[in-house]
């Protein structure tokens, strides 16, 4: 991914910043400037709580390029407390410890690095809620 594209996505990636629809009140993630519920324009920023629960999950053993050093790792669809569903990596989890409905929380972690010389991309992942 280009340095420029990484930079444009920073707010949404670092803090889980989406949008709130001023017409119907829907919480929107990722931000798309149009409400998926009522199709009204929606541009009011909303920082999500980061809390949610696991809707489904899977383990990646054969990762795409740039993610090889992290495999095996788990990915999940997370239903955010505010409503939207988001796909993300899970972190700080052990094999066999994840289940559907498990409460999780957002955490900002390294997503990938472009070799030893490129930019390090940080973004949201989810981990089991609480410590």
């Amino acid at each position: 991914m280009s340095v420029a594209r990484n930079w444009r996505l920073q707010q949404q990636r670092y803090r889980l910043t989406g949008e709130r629809c001023d017409t119907c009140g829907a919480a929107i993630f990722p931000p798309r400037d149009v409400c998926p519920e009522c199709e009204a324009p929606a541009k009011t920023p909303l920082v999500f709580s980061g809390r949610g629960e696991i809707y489904s999950y899977s383990t990646v053993y054969h990762p795409p390029a740039e993610f090889e050093t992290a495999a095996p790792y788990m990915v999940a669809l997370v239903r955010l407390e505010e409503g939207p569903m988001v796909a993300a990596q899970l972190t700080d989890v052990d094999k066999g410890s994840v289940s559907i409905g498990m409460p999780v929380e957002m955490v900002t972690r390294k997503i990938r690095a472009e070799g030893d010389e490129g930019i390090i991309a940080y973004g949201y992942k989810f981990r089991p809620a609480g410590i």
């Binding site: 670092y14 803090r15 900002t108 940080y122 410590i131």
Partner: protein, 357 residues
């Protein structure tokens, strides 16, 4: 020698509005290092050390600690009004590109803020805190954040490999009236001492054998602590708690005794045995553990040490605001006791010690 006029105290009183700790969950037992390098016969300076996961570094550790500090401060701090975000570390992920801007962006402090990275071995965090006291105390900003975080590396087989740990601690400093603990003053003692260093482009540090104990750690901590107490007219008995930098278990226990402190006074802030030396985070992490248990009115002495060498000493008094805020984020002890043990092979992978190409 007189210490008149050497006490560092701002024009208006400054305190801690919120504090936060973070320690990665992975642990390398010292017996694993001992098994690999000394056939189990070397002896171990700690139980185990915290190891960052594959997706953790000083940026992510700082963000976690900073979010805990913001959670504790609650309504007392609007992230957008934080006037400075300063991160002290010897393991910033980039040689050129600040850690602090990434942390500031992640906590919502950008763009109208000051941001900078600090370095001075294990005291990079406390010097950021000292500067933040000045920044707030002079009225230049209302709130400043000072963070100490590290993911230190020890050369494989070196004595430091047992202890070089990972962790972070963050402090939001602001007006004393809103604070859960107020700074009574600070005092620094610095000399050019060749006890420990790492040259540019080098992965692992070097240390100057005979310089590491007496002329470095013990001299600087003792001078800073005694200087501060002389300037404030306090003695060891006036403090309920004390924290001295923790490169291993023995050094802080010994310097505490030499300065007239009991082991009970340092117990609540001692984490090195279970997380290792967290470098720039070490003494600041100790302070978070003490704030987790301290009662209003109690006094705390904090003394850092950074190789090269120097110590910053701080005297604090806890206020009644501690009660409502401490439970808004996880206790440091909970991070310390949470553990996922790994063996030396997994440690070698997590710390990038395997050659992939």
């Amino acid at each position: 020698m007189t210490h008149d006029g050497r006490l560092m105290k701002p024009a208006r009183d400054v305190g801690i509005l919120g504090y936060g700790a973070y320690v990665p969950r992975y642990r390398l037992p010292a017996t694993e290092v001992e098994r690999i390098w000394t056939d189990g016969e070397g002896g171990t300076p700690i139980n185990e050390k915290a190891v960052p996961g594959l997706d953790e570094d000083v940026v992510t550790i700082s963000i976690e600690a900073a979010r805990n500090a913001l959670a504790r401060a609650g309504d007392a701090v609007d992230p957008a009004r934080i006037g400075a975000v300063w991160v002290g570390s010897e393991s910033h992920p980039y040689a050129v590109k600040p850690t602090s801007t990434i942390v500031a962006e992640a906590i919502g402090a950008v763009p109208y803020t000051q941001a900078a990275d600090w370095q001075f071995a294990c005291k990079a965090g406390t010097e950021a805190m000292q500067a933040a006291i000045g920044f707030v105390g002079s009225g230049m900003v209302q709130v400043a954040m000072a963070i100490g975080a590290d993911t230190a590396q020890g050369r494989p087989g070196d004595a430091l490999e047992y202890t070089a740990g990972a962790g972070g601690a963050a402090y939001l400093l602001g007006a004393a009236e809103d604070a859960l603990a107020v700074f009574e003053g600070s005092f620094s003692f610095v000399t050019d001492t060749p006890d420990f260093w790492r040259r540019a482009y080098q992965h692992y540090p070097s240390h100057g054998g005979r310089f590491t104990g007496e002329p470095a750690y013990f001299r600087h901590i003792t001078e800073a602590a005694q200087g501060l107490m002389a300037a404030l007219g306090t003695s060891a008995a006036d403090y309920h708690y004390a924290i001295f930098h923790q490169p291993n278990v023995k050094f802080p226990q010994t310097v505490a005794r030499q300065l007239g402190f009991t082991q009970e006074q340092i117990a609540a802030g001692m984490f090195v045995g279970d997380v290792g030396n967290t470098y720039a985070a070490a003494s600041m992490l100790g302070l978070t553990g003490i704030l987790d248990v301290a009662a209003p009115g109690e006094r705390i002495l904090l003394v850092s040490f950074g190789s090269g060498a120097g110590s910053d000493a701080f005297s604090l008094r806890v206020t009644e605001k501690i009660e409502a805020r401490r439970n808004r984020a996880p206790a440091t002890r909970a991070y310390v006791t949470r553990r996922a043990p790994i063996d030396y092979a997994m440690y070698a992978r997590y710390r990038g010690k395997l050659t992939m190409k």
